[in-house]
Amino acid sequence: MIFTLVSIELYKIFKKWRTYIGFLAFGIFIPILIYGVSVSGNHYQRILQRNIGDQFLIVGNLVNGWYVAFITIQAMIIHIPFFITLVGGDLFAGEGSAGTYRMLLTRPLKRELIVVSKFIAGFIYTFIFVLFFALISTLPSIYFLGVGDLIVPLEKIVVIPSKEILTRFLLAYFSSFISMCVVLSLAGLFSSLVNNAIGPIVGTMAVIVIFLIIGELPFEFFERIAPFLFTKYMTVWLDAFDYPIDWTKIFNSLLILLGHIVLFFAITIFYFRKKDILT
């Protein structure tokens, strides 16, 4: 039955226009971003040349497809939650506002099963979206700019050998997927509480933005709070580009994120199990 429910939920998700907003936005914008970075991409190499070119030779293709893909991820990843909440916020509330709860919940199905199927469908959507993001952020740039070592010019300059890059990207995208599942779960939870999708969408984004701001504030009080905010662990994808990989840190972050997914899911089940459907 769960397979049927999930397939129905997926069918509903992918029959809605809003589901494609993210695909459309990224499908249009990311190629433009890639093109922009590509045509001015040697900018980084030029600066590096200017900075150290007197004494050093720079060997290898620094601004390659992987580099552009990395720049794309770090520029766009912050926007993915919005597209996830568009769908996550509608999972339950959409049924409420459309009145279809009255159809769905009068069936001989335990509500827990409905929650599970909606979450699974949401996770599948999230997976497909992250996969789409992964493909669109890497394939065109690799096709046009080729491969090579990846320079990660963040707090620390890390150069990742080309043979390791694919693994790193896969790890990064997997970590992003888990992070986005937290976003979806939170949106799903909020969605189960109300009967209009606007609230969960805005609410989820508000929580993420507020948590991100709190996590960034350089005051002791907020610094003490920061480790308890799930948003702190959503940058786990960046750890995939550390050298060497700090597996313990990644594992802990993923565990905390998974914990949040379970928590949000459990609260949804607890609440939704006996929710009075009055719409």
């Binding site: 900075n51 150290i52 050093f56 060997v59 963040l154 050298y243």
Partner: protein
């Protein structure tokens, strides 16, 4: 008066002869390297930089007289310019002054310490080299300038094909603060301790499998792929 004139003459002679000696050393270094028409060598490079993690990387250097070279690598790498001709750039300029400033024994071999100063006012780097008195290879090099800070390079040689003294290892030490890698905007809140940046950076290059004077097709240097020329 006679004595004074004699003293001046001696001093001029000393200075002139010293300059002549320094010139001779430089000529010997060049002559030594002139034996090399071309070479191909595999290198293994390691960059130790306090603010960067750059794994050990491999490359291949192609060199052909007078100044054609190509570094072929799938990997990203930064290598000192001196890694190609194992000598400072200034040595191949026309207008520079030389001055022997001393001698020192390194590994029980006498080395001349020679200062090379460009006569071009725009070049402000001062280069000092330690030249092996037996085979006229540059054992050590020191570059000081306001842009580059201080760079110290050590070469360790081995006799290739029983004829050519070529380095098997090069160690360059530089001021970390002079190597400014551009950054993209900060993502993580975590602030890094930048104090390490005031330390030293080190690039070690090991040379393997020299192929010397076997001829290299010029086309090799035209292929820009994966290379820096």
């Amino acid at each position: 008066m006679k004595k004074t004139f004699l003293l001046i003459l001696i001093l001029i002679n000393v200075l002139f002869s010293q300059d002549k000696n320094a010139q001779r050393i430089v000529e010997n270094i060049k002559a030594n390297f002139d034996l090399i028409n071309d070479y191909i060598v595999e290198i293994k490079g390691k960059v130790d930089f306090p603010d960067a993690v750059i794994p050990e990387l491999k490359a291949k250097i192609f060199f052909k007289k007078p100044d054609k070279f190509k570094v072929e690598s799938d990997n990203f790498m930064i290598i000192p310019k001196q890694s190609i001709r194992f000598s400072p750039e200034i040595l191949y300029e026309k207008d520079f002054s030389t001055l022997i400033i001393g001698e020192v024994d390194i590994d029980k071999v006498k080395h001349f310490i020679v200062k090379l100063i460009s006569n071009n006012p725009e070049v402000e780097e001062v280069v000092t080299i330690w030249v092996n008195s037996k085979n006229y290879t540059i054992r050590k090099m020191n570059v000081i300038g306001s842009r580059v800070g201080k760079v110290e390079i050590d070469f360790y040689y081995k006799l290739i094909d029983e004829k050519y003294w070529l380095p098997e290892k090069m160690v360059a030490i530089f001021e970390a603060s002079r190597i400014r890698f551009p950054r993209i905007r900060k993502i993580e809140k975590e602030q890094k301790d930048n104090s390490d940046l005031y330390g030293e950076g080190k690039i070690t290059i090991e040379y393997f499998n020299y192929v010397v004077n076997k001829g290299i097709d010029d086309k090799i240097f035209e292929d820009k792929k994966k290379s820096v020329k």
